[in-house]
């Protein structure tokens, strides 16, 4: 555990110093909501439209962030320095994925209120607890796949393109699950109940991909 927490602390500290990931994602999300506000030409959105706008925006913001996950590691061979230590490569992946999850959470602290202000109607306040639950599960999936795909694309040419090309299809089940789960929360007459089936699917996806990513990540790092 200690190497993982040391690595995690390194990730968070690096982000704090360089501010590569979080501000870009947050800015992108808020700007996109503004664009939607004007583009959709509605005062408020609800139901499946609201859920769709929220999740598509968060997903694209996540792809933007995922592009930059390994930038500091690639400079000066810093990641190799870590690889020289007797540390399980899995710890590297876990630290990266947990850090990405934290970054997504920080972005959502800004983006979700912006979403409420710009796009949702006044009655949507009671959606918050359910929304939090969906955010946690969906963010876990995005963090896992984002860290994995970013690790794959990081030392290739056309890295930006590859992260999106690989990440978006893989994350489609998360979008489907998250959007379906969030739709009743944004219903016009007040938040409905959280559909258990979709939460279960999100959870299952997180579990399966978490295991696969952990099994496979070593192979990305050993030369």
């Amino acid at each position: 555990m200690r190497p993982t927490s040391a690595l995690l602390r390194k990730e968070l500290r690096l982000e704090w110093r360089s501010r590569e990931v979080v501000p870009a994602m947050a800015l992108f999300s808020v700007t996109t909501f503004v664009v939607f506000h004007f583009g959709l030409q509605k005062d408020t959105v609800d139901g499946s439209l609201a859920a769709g706008v929220l999740w598509v925006t968060l997903l694209f913001a996540a792809m933007l962030g995922a592009n930059r996950l390994f930038v500091s590691d690639a400079q000066d061979g810093a990641l190799e320095g870590v690889l020289l230590a007797p540390v399980d490569r899995t710890a590297l992946f876990v630290a990266k994925a947990v850090a990405f999850f934290a970054f997504l959470a920080l972005v959502e602290v800004v983006a979700v209120p912006a979403f409420y202000l710009l796009l949702l109607g006044p009655s949507a306040g009671d959606a918050v607890p359910g929304l939090l639950a969906v955010l946690v599960l969906a963010d876990a999936g995005i963090a896992i796949v984002g860290a994995l795909v970013s690790g794959m694309a990081t030392q290739t040419r056309s890295r930006d393109l590859l992260v999106s090309l690989l990440g978006l299809p893989l994350l489609l089940p998360v979008i489907i699950g998250a959007a379906r789960a969030t739709t009743p929360l944004f219903a016009l007459g007040g938040a409905g109940s959280l559909p258990g089936k979709w939460m279960a699917i999100l959870g299952l996806y997180d579990l399966v991909f978490g295991l696969i990513a952990v099994a496979v990540f070593d192979f990305l790092l050993e030369e």
Partner: protein, 219 residues
């Protein structure tokens, strides 16, 4: 403190080591034995494979053929066990430039399970104590190299692998290197054939293969 290999067992044993890049040969037919405590000098022109050889020994690259034994452990199967006991100083510092020297070294200390006090000692030894909390990107190249040296010996490795160690050092710092390396088995690469006098074993490499020292640099 790592247990050094017993005097009888060699620090490095290579037999027909091979490493390819696609169809191109990066290393081939490299065989040697290096006794514990001795110094190996690897000479050769650019592109000869010196850095590749060091990286294989450092467990950063897998051998594609032949056998490699470092400190008694077979690579790549026992890479895990070997990493504790080797230190590698490459062309790049292998440090995070947005973090300070202290933060970088503390990270490596935690990863190698070395006490935090050792970080402070080393910072003093390499002369970085005054600027230990400034991010590495504010350092001069010589200072970065000093921090890299500290990283290399932080966990008290029995074997150190140094890829052109004098390349980025500022003149005053050349003295700090020797005491930190004392007593360790070393593999050093260099362009300068004159250094062969101070080495115990010398390996000449040309286009990835072992070569006699005469005519090593012939065109």
């Amino acid at each position: 403190m790592p247990s050094p290999p017993s005097p009888a067992s060699p620090a490095i044993e290579l037999d027909a080591l091979e490493r390819r890049y696609g169809e191109r040969v990066a290393l081939a037919g490299v065989s040697l034995t290096l006794p514990a405590g001795a110094t190996l000098l690897v000479l050769g022109p650019n592109g000869a494979g010196k850095s590749t050889l060091l990286r294989v020994l450092a467990t950063l690259l897998r051998p594609h053929g032949g056998s490699v034994r470092v400190l008694g452990d077979e690579l790549p199967e026992r890479a895990w066990a070997v990493r504790r006991r080797i230190g590698y100083l490459g062309h790049e510092p292998l440090l995070y430039r947005d973090l300070s020297a202290r933060e970088n070294l503390t990270l490596h200390a935690r990863l190698h399970k070395v006490a935090a006090a050792r970080v402070e000692e080393l910072l003093a030894d390499v002369g970085l104590a005054a600027r230990a909390d400034d991010p590495l990107h504010t350092y001069s190249r010589g200072m970065v190299q000093r921090c890299a040296i500290a990283r290399t010996v932080l966990h008290d490795p029995a074997l150190v692998l140094l890829d052109e160690p004098r390349a980025n050092l500022d003149p005053g710092a050349a003295e700090i290197l020797e005491p930190l390396l004392a007593g360790r088995t070393r593999v050093v690469t260099s362009h300068d054939p004159a250094e062969a006098e101070r080495a115990d074993v010398v390996l000449g490499l040309r286009a990835g293969r072992p070569h006699d020292l005469e005519g090593l640099y012939a065109t």
